[in-house]
Amino acid sequence: MDFDFSDDQIQLREAVARWVDKAYSFDRRRQIAQAGGFSRQAYLEMAELGLTGLSVPAEHGGMGLGPVEAMVVMEELGRGLVLEPLAQALIAGLLLSTRAPKAIQEQWLPGVASGQTLMALAWQERSARHRPDVCQTQASTRDGAYRLQGSKHVVPAGDQAEGLIVSARLDGQIALFAVQAGASGLGRHGYNTQDGGRAADLHFEDTPAELITPEGLAALRHAVDLGAACVCAEAVAVMERSLDITCDYMKQRQQFGVPIASFQALRHRVADMKMQVELGRSMSYYAWLKLDAPEAERQQAIARAKVQLGQSMRFVGQQSVQLHGGIGVTDEYIISHCFKKLTQLELSFGDTLHHLGQVASAMEETAGVFN
C-alpha cells in the first residue's frame, strides 16, 4: 500500500502540466468556448503528447498505460479546465481494445490513438437520466447489417466526433455499436455546454452500425465507471485550483482595513473546503486503484467515490464563489468558470444521488476500503 507516484508518472504529469501552462491559457480557453466549445487544434496538440493513445495498446499505436497514468493526465487537464473531452478517447481505447472484434479494433484504434479520430460514447437518453441499463434505442439486422433507431442525449463533442460508440437494444439486450460520423440517417444537433465545452444530441434513423459487443451492458458499465473516474480526477484538480485561487484572493482582498483572510468565519470555511478537497482526492485515488477490480467491487468503489466527489465539488465550487464575493459571480474572473466546471462534472457519468442509490442498494454488513 503506497500512494507515491513513479518517476515516469511524475514526468508524464509534468509534461501535461507544461502543455496546459503554455498552450491552454484562460484566454485561449475563452476563445475555444466562444467558438463552439471544441478545438480540433487543441485536441491534436494533446494527441502529439500521446494522450489520446494513453489507453490504446501499443500494437494499435497507443501507449497502453494503466489507470494511474490516466488519473495523472486527467488531473492536469482538469487543472487547466481543458474543454476537449480526453475521457472519450480513454473510454474508446478501453472499450474497443477489451470488447471489440479484431477487425473493429484495427479499423478504429489507430485513429483514436493518433487523435485523427475522435470517438464519443453515446449512451445517455433523455428518459434514462443517469442509468446505463435504461435504453430505448433499438438495433435491428437487415441483409446481415445492423441498423439503429433512436436518440441519444448530451454526447460530449458528439457533433465533432468521427465515430460514435452507441448503446442500443438488440433482441432485447443492450449491445454496443460503432457508427461512422457520415453514416446515413444520422442527425446531429450540437451545442455549447454550461462549462464552455461542447455536446450534441444525436438521432439515428435506420443508421448503419457495426457490432462491438452484444454484451453491451457490462461493457457500458465499465466505460461509464472509467468516465466517472475521469470526472473524479478532473474534479480533484479543479477543486484544488479553486482553493488556491480563493486563498490567494482572501489574502489580498481588504475590507474593514484588513485582509478578509483574517476573518474566522471565512477561515473556517476554507478549512472545510480543504477537508472536502482531501476527502475528494482520497476517493479519487480509491476509484482509480479499484478500476481493474472485479465488476461488483469496481462498481461499488466508483459509486462511493462519485458520491464523495459530488458532495465535495458542490461545496468547494459554491464556497469558492461565495468567498470571492461579487467578483465570484462575474464571467471575466476565472473562479466562476471553475465553479461551472465542477457543476458540470457533478452531473456527468451519474450524479451524486444516482450513485448514492447504487451505494445504498449494494451495501453489505461490513464496509471499508478493502471490502
Binding site: M1, R267, V359, E365
Partner: protein, 400 residues
C-alpha cells in the same frame, strides 16, 4: 501507487487477529459490541493482557520495549483490536505520558514510570484543562511553587477523564508568571494518593461519570517528578499533541460501529426504508473516505516523510463520523430509544417483568444504550482541541 497491503503486512494482520481473538475476553467484547457500560476492571483487564504481550505500548520504540512496528503495522493492530470488540486503550499512560517521559524524562524517571505503564498496572490521568482554561489552555493557573526539593501545588483541574481510577496524573502547572503564558508552564507527575489531592466525579449528560474535577490543596510533589526542564512544559505538551495523530480518527472503530448500525437498522425495520438507507449509505461513504485519508497519512509516515498536511483533518472528520453513527443508531430505534433505565446499561441486566410487559419497554433491550451513546459522543468534537480550534489550525496552514 498501490492499494493492496504487502504479503508481509497481511501475514502480520493474520497473526495479530488470531492473537486478539484468542485473548480478548468475550464478555468484554460483548459489552463493546452492544455499547454497554465498561467497568474499570474491564478496561484494566484488557490493558494488562496487552501489557503481558508487550503490546500496550505498541507504538513505543524498541529501546523502551515496544514491538518496533511501523505505522501500517500499528494501524493493522488497532484495526484488529477494534473489529474484535476490544475496549479502547485508555491513552493517558501508554500513548500520552509515556512518549513524553521517553523524549524528555530522566533515565531515572524512565526506569521508574515506564514499566508500570507498559504492563497496565498503573492507571494514569491527564491534568490539562481547568475551569478557566479550555481551548485557551496556556492560560492555566494551577500553581506549582518550588520550595527546596519539592513543589507545592495548588489549583484545580477539570474534565479529567476516568480520573476517579487514577493512580498518577500528569499535569501542566504554572511555575512562572513571567513572560508569555506559554513560557511559564511545567510538566509535573503527581501521585494521586498524595495528601491534598481530591477527586470529584462529574455526572455527564448520559448519566455516567466519565470525567472528574481534581483539586490540589498544598500538595507536596518531589522535584524529581518534574519532567525535563522547568517552564518548558508547553513544548512537551505540544510534542504530545503531535504524537499518534492517525489513531485519533478512530476509523477502525467507525467501521465496527457502521456494522452495528446496520444490525440495529435491520432489527428496527428501517433497513428497507430508503430514506433511512440513504443516510447509512452516506455514512458508509464517509467512513471509506476517512479510511483512505488515514491510509494516505500512514503511507507517508511509513516512508519516513513528514506527515502530510492532511493529518490535522483526521480529528475533525473522525469525530464528526463518531457522532453521526451514534445519531443514526438512535434514530433507527425511534421511540424505543427514549426509555431511561440506567441499570440496562449493565451487561446481562434482565430487570423485573412488569406483568405481561417486558422489563425494558418494548423488549427492546438493545436500544437501551443508543441515546446515552449518542449523548456521550457529543464530547468528541469538543475534546482534544475542539473542532473549531482544529479548523483554526488547518486554516493557518492555508492562509497564514
Amino acid at each position: 501507487m498501490d492499494l493492496a497491503f504487502t504479503a508481509d503486512e497481511l501475514q502480520f494482520r493474520d497473526e495479530v487477529r488470531t492473537w486478539v481473538r484468542d485473548h480478548l475476553p468475550q464478555p468484554i467484547a460483548e459489552k463493546v459490541h452492544q455499547g454497554l457500560r465498561l467497568s474499570r476492571e474491564d478496561m484494566q483487564a484488557w490493558a494488562k493482557i496487552l501489557g503481558s504481550r508487550g503490546w500496550l505500548g505498541h507504538a513505543w520504540p524498541q529501546e523502551f520495549g515496544g514491538p518496533g512496528w511501523n505505522a501500517v503495522q500499528r494501524h493493522l493492530f488497532e484495526e484488529e483490536c477494534a473489529l474484535a470488540g476490544a475496549p479502547r486503550v485508555v491513552p493517558f499512560g501508554p500513548v500520552m505520558v509515556a512518549p513524553v517521559i521517553m523524549a524528555f524524562g530522566s533515565p531515572e524517571q524512565q526506569r521508574r514510570f515506564l514499566p508500570g505503564i507498559a504492563s497496565g498496572e498503573v492507571w494514569w490521568s491527564q491534568g490539562y484543562s481547568e475551569p478557566g482554561s479550555g481551548s485557551d489552555l496556556a492560560s492555566l493557573k494551577t500553581r506549582a511553587e518550588r520550595r527546596g526539593d519539592r513543589f507545592i501545588v495548588n489549583g484545580q483541574k477539570t474534565w479529567t477523564t476516568l480520573g476517579q481510577y487514577g493512580d498518577w496524573i500528569f499535569c501542566l502547572v504554572r511555575t512562572s508568571l513571567e513572560g508569555k503564558p506559554q513560557t511559564g508552564i511545567s510538566f509535573l507527575l503527581i501521585d494521586m494518593k498524595s495528601p491534598g489531592v481530591s477527586v470529584r466525579p462529574i455526572r455527564l449528560l448520559d448519566g455516567e461519570c466519565e470525567v472528574n474535577e481534581v483539586w490540589f490543596d498544598q500538595v507536596e510533589v518531589p522535584a524529581e517528578n518534574l519532567v525535563g526542564e522547568e517552564n518548558k512544559g508547553w513544548t512537551y505538551a505540544k510534542y504530545l499533541l503531535g504524537h499518534e495523530r492517525t489513531n485519533i480518527a478512530d476509523v477502525n472503530r467507525a467501521k465496527r460501529e457502521l456494522e452495528r448500525l446496520k444490525r440495529i437498522a435491520r432489527a428496527e425495520g428501517v433497513w428497507d426504508d430508503w430514506r433511512f438507507r440513504d443516510q447509512i449509505a452516506l455514512l458508509e461513504v464517509d467512513v471509506v473516505a476517512l479510511e483512505m485519508l488515514v491510509l494516505r497519512v500512514l503511507s507517508a509516515e511509513r516512508a519516513g516523510k513528514q506527515s502530510l498536511d492532511i493529518a490535522g483533518l483526521l480529528k475533525i472528520r473522525g469525530s464528526e463520523i463518531q457522532q453521526r453513527y451514534t445519531e443514526l443508531m438512535m434514530l433507527a430505534a425511534g421511540p424505543s430509544a427514549l426509555p431511561l433505565i440506567h441499570e440496562a446499561m449493565e451487561a446481562g441486566w434482565q430487570g423485573d417483568q412488569a406483568g405481561p410487559l417486558p422489563a425494558f419497554p418494548g423488549g427492546a433491550l438493545h436500544c437501551a444504550p443508543l441515546a446515552p451513546n449518542y449523548f456521550n459522543m457529543r464530547k468528541t468534537t469538543i475534546y482534544g482541541g475542539s473542532n473549531e480550534v482544529q479548523r483554526n489550525i488547518v486554516a493557518q496552514a492555508l492562509l497564514g
